[in-house]
Amino acid sequence: MLRIRLIEEAIAERYSEQKMRCPTHLSIGQEACAVGISAKLLPKDKVFSSHRAHAHYLAKGGNLNRLIAELYGKGSGCTGGRGGSMHLTDLDAGFVASTAIVANSIPVAAGQALHQQLRGETQLTVSYFGEGATEEGAFYETANFAVVKQLPLLLVCENNRYSVYSSLACRQPKNRSIKALAEAIGIYSLEGNGNDVREVAARASQAVSHIRAGNGPAFIELHTYRHREHCGPHFDDDLGYRPKEERESWFKRDPLQTVEDILSAIPHWKKAKASMIEKIEKEIGEAFDAAINAPFPDSDNNEVYVYAE
């Protein structure tokens, strides 16, 4: 979690140099969701995500160097510069794909789960998305199908209360419980504090057991909050679209702080943390150096891979 935070902060810091030239949605503030869920996954489980995918990719074990290189549009990026931040993949890590159209990777994840079911595999598939995505019919249609077919699919909704600058008020009814909605569709559904990694892991554990026992799909709504602007590196609370009290109360519940409060009781935590940070920063520095020094892909190959052979 600390690692993801440090990586994304490094991205944020360097973004203004204008060398990472693609739309970038940071997960800062929401890391506990990805980390808590991933803690209960096996390497062979598959993961799909949305435009806000860095944390999901990294928590599943996605390659750091290839992520950073992708942001720089380099040939060594995870899609060779073709997809950018919104289209990540690391098949070795089981992170299949993230996509930029709201909700449109959800049905694809269900297709992956269908494949797993047909092969009789014990793997499962996770689909991460925001609460905004639950307004799209694609979410609903997929959830229905997943129940009909009893697919090994874990739907994870990170409810950060905003879709770009839009609050819930104009998008969902007051008192909407997305968890209750998923339940009415027929999915085994859970809910939790997305800023508390232990709680997320506990819910993930329940959901994953349910699915691995062959009981069909599960759904988890995680309440959380994004720290930075929707797209880009900055804080944007000067824009005033999020109430000050709301923001402050959520920032106080920063998922890293929550963990810190617990870990700091451990003897020598400070020292251990410092050495962790040192190691991570070294790794990050190397990733950036490698990315910056890597060559751009050759645009002469732009015609390659339009069609599979």
């Binding site: 598959k46 299949v96 159209i101 047909l118 694609a138 069609y307 599979a308």
Partner: protein
């Protein structure tokens, strides 16, 4: 091994069965795929032969189900999906265009999407504004999609088999009036033994007819009639809607200097338009007359029998247009004795 006892629909069935045998993991899904009518008979017996795990009906949810197909396909399960009308599939454009068409490219070749989508174009017996659209030009405009538009019973089996076994997302557009077309059974061959993306049904020196889908049958009839008048036409079918496959068309037009495109969709911003444009670009110096096209008028198909009598082009319209291009008034083929809104006497409505 050939005989006379098959139909277009049966060949489609056979192709699916062959593919399911060749790829033991392949699945077929679609609304009504295993119901008593079996999508106009084109999926008859599949669920019995291959089981309900591999051949299954789905909720009415075109968009998500297309995404499911993409997801299973990229994971390694070959997928065939069937929709009873092109019109219904409009709900799934996001999945088709933003995912299926782009994933192989966007993920730099690491993923591929062996997904085939069968779409059926309605016509006649009051199909009307929302059951008779052929949006083939939409699909052809999208890089990463393959678009196959079959027309003849002798080839459709192999064409569908190839589309299925191809590792790319392919839109396979069947015209409803073709399903009962009789013809020779032809063996489904190996995948590598590909049939041509462009088929030459007739050759001539005077003019090149280029057609797709049901219009191929009309073009063939027109050419036969014209032959009797001493006018010899090429009849070329663009089964694959991909300009880079169309060299045989350009060769033919360079030979005749005259081209009439017979399209099965609305006239403008169409496949017909692309053919005229490509011929103008590639064969300019050989052209003896302005390239021309016949397409559907720029309004929806009305429902009433009384309103559709001239909506679709027939062999007669083709002959007339050829006359215009040759600067001669030509006699026209005799009027058909079937009502204009059904494919043949055997059809008793409704679709």
């Amino acid at each position: 091994m050939q005989n006379k006892t098959t139909t277009f629909a049966k060949q489609i069935c056979a192709a699916q069965a062959s593919a399911m045998r060749a790829d033991k993991q392949m699945i077929c899904m679609g609304l009504g795929i295993d119901d008593p009518k079996a999508i106009f008979g084109t999926t008859a017996g599949l669920s019995e032969d291959f089981g309900s795990k591999r051949v299954f009906d789905t909720p009415t949810a075109e968009n998500a189900m297309t995404g499911v197909g993409i997801g299973a396909a990229q994971a390694g399960t070959r997928v065939l999906m069937t929709h009873q009308r092109v019109d219904f599939f409009l709900l799934a454009m996001d999945q088709l265009v933003n995912n299926a068409a782009k994933w192989h490219y966007m993920f730099n070749g690491q993923l591929k999407v062996p997904l085939t989508i069968r779409l059926i174009v309605g016509r006649g017996w009051g199909q009307g504004p929302t059951h008779a659209q052929n949006l083939q030009s939409w699909f052809a405009h999208v890089p990463g999609l393959k678009v196959v538009v079959p027309s003849k019973t002798d080839a459709v089996g192999q064409q569908l088999y190839q589309a299925i076994m191809d590792d790319n997302p392919t839109v396979f557009i069947e015209h409803r009036w073709l399903h009962n077309q009789h013809g020779d059974v032809s063996q489904i061959r190996r995948y590598t033994d590909r049939s041509e993306p462009v088929r030459v049904h007739a050759t001539g020196e005077d003019l090149t007819l280029v057609a797709n889908s049901y219009m191929v049958l009309e073009a063939i009839q027109a050419a036969e009639f014209l032959t009797k008048l001493g006018i010899r036409c090429d009849v070329i079918e663009t089964t694959e809607l991909n300009v880079s496959c169309w060299k045989p068309v350009f060769d033919a037009v360079n030979k005749t200097g005259r081209v009439l495109v017979c399209d099965s969709a609305h006239q403008h911003f169409s496949v017909g338009g692309e053919l005229v444009a490509s011929c103008a670009e590639q064969c300019f110096s050989a052209l003896k007359a302005a390239p021309m096209r016949l397409g559907l008028p720029m309004h929806p198909e009305p429902t009433s029998f009384g309103l559709t009598s001239h909506f679709y082009n027939t062999a007669s319209d083709i002959v007339r247009q050829v006359g215009v291009m040759l600067g001669r008034e030509l006699p026209l083929p005799a009027k058909r004795d079937t009502p204009h809104d059904v494919p043949g006497q055997w059809f008793q409505g409704p679709f």
